[in-house]
């Protein structure tokens, strides 16, 4: 499929793909409308709490860093809103350190920042998070390798086949050209769709910069018009 916006599994510049990328072409099953893959996932999480979308208010004190608002809409392939769907995010803190024991980057942890949040989209398909801008961080993929600042996004949609996990980047990052993960997306116009846009209308005076980023989920075989 020449218009496939997704990365190829095997992307040798991202070293971890070499032994993990499936080598054989996937099989396309004939799905009937009742196929289990087309079910609306009933995720079994605890109900989303009123502060789960605000990563700056999960601890006693405020996290260090540039406070930001990240918002946008979850859309289907026809541009229609996907309401009431779960959006989960996770990210590094302002210094580029994750609150994860495997992260060995010698940058400080922030006792007031865990870096995970979630929310449900509203009737218009909109999600909104308040967080701090994540830092860039080094990794061991190749000599002097650094990841551009990003926020990980996990989105459900209305059919299990729409399930998406991706990463959102910030405009103008000088590390884009050096990042094999972003560059794994073959076409530049598709890579651009992983970059949010600064938005003055989303920006709150004396408080936080605002960014807009929409997520488009894949088509499903039996989408209604």
């Amino acid at each position: 499929m020449t218009d496939d916006p997704h990365p190829h599994h095997l992307t040798p510049s991202y070293r971890s793909t070499v032994l993990r990328a499936p080598a054989r072409p996937p099989v396309r099953p004939a799905l009937d409308p009742e196929a289990a893959e087309l079910l609306d996932p009933v995720y079994g999480h605890q109900p989303v709490g009123p502060l789960d979308h605000d990563l700056t208010r999960q601890h006693e004190g405020e996290p260090i860093g540039e406070r930001i608002i990240v918002t946008g809409r979850v859309l289907d392939s026809r541009g229609r809103a996907v309401p009431d769907t779960l959006v989960e995010i996770w990210q590094a803190n302002a210094t580029g350190r994750y609150a994860h024991p495997v992260d060995r980057h010698p940058a400080p942890l922030d006792p007031n920042f865990t870096g995970s949040g979630r929310c449900l989209t509203d009737a218009d398909g909109r999600y909104r998070f308040v967080t701090i801008k994540p830092g860039a961080y080094p990794w061991r993929n190749h000599p002097n390798a650094w990841r551009p600042a990003h926020i990980h996004f996990s989105v459900f949609g209305t059919a299990f086949t729409q399930r998406l996990i991706t990463q959102m980047y910030f405009p103008g990052d000088p590390l884009f050209a050096h990042d094999p993960i972003l560059q794994s997306v073959p076409r530049p116009e598709d890579r651009e769709r992983l970059v949010c846009a600064f938005d003055l209308d989303t920006t709150e005076p004396e408080w936080a910069l605002g960014y807009q980023w929409d997520v488009v989920l894949g088509a499903t075989p039996f989408e209604e018009d």
């Binding site: 997704h6 080598a23 099989v27 995720y43 079994g44 994750y98 992260d103 998406l164």
Partner: protein, 157 residues
Amino acid sequence: MPAPSLPPTPSQTVGPFFAYALPYAEGPFAVSEDHPDAIELHGRVLDGAGEPVPDALLEICQPGLFGRCPTEADGSYRFRTARPDTYIPLLVFARGLLKPVWTRVYLTGDAPFLAGLDPVRRGTLVASPSGERSYRFDVRLQGDRETVFLHHVPPRG
């Protein structure tokens, strides 16, 4: 006239650091222990060298049920779910997978879909009984016994 088709947002890897964000305590248990059709579904995720994948995230979806389970250091996972009518859809994310892989867990080998597959490979979709109400299903991302993975997205246009 249908609205124009928008290109989907590209996938990116789940990366190595999702463990403090995505897994949750009840995630692996799609049904309670006393559910009449409860089964255990367990196995390992292995890479092309046969080494365990310790940073994968697996999800299953059945009518009214959802499960999510990260792998352990030895690549193992363990769900409790309901015995399916035909198969359990299984989705695997991992560091090193730039997009997830889809597969299906069948508990018996007599399904029509399996009959249409290469006979050498169809067994990769059939779980083996591993005890009373317990089934083992390994996912091999690559190699001679690579699991059959599926593609569900219809062509755009």
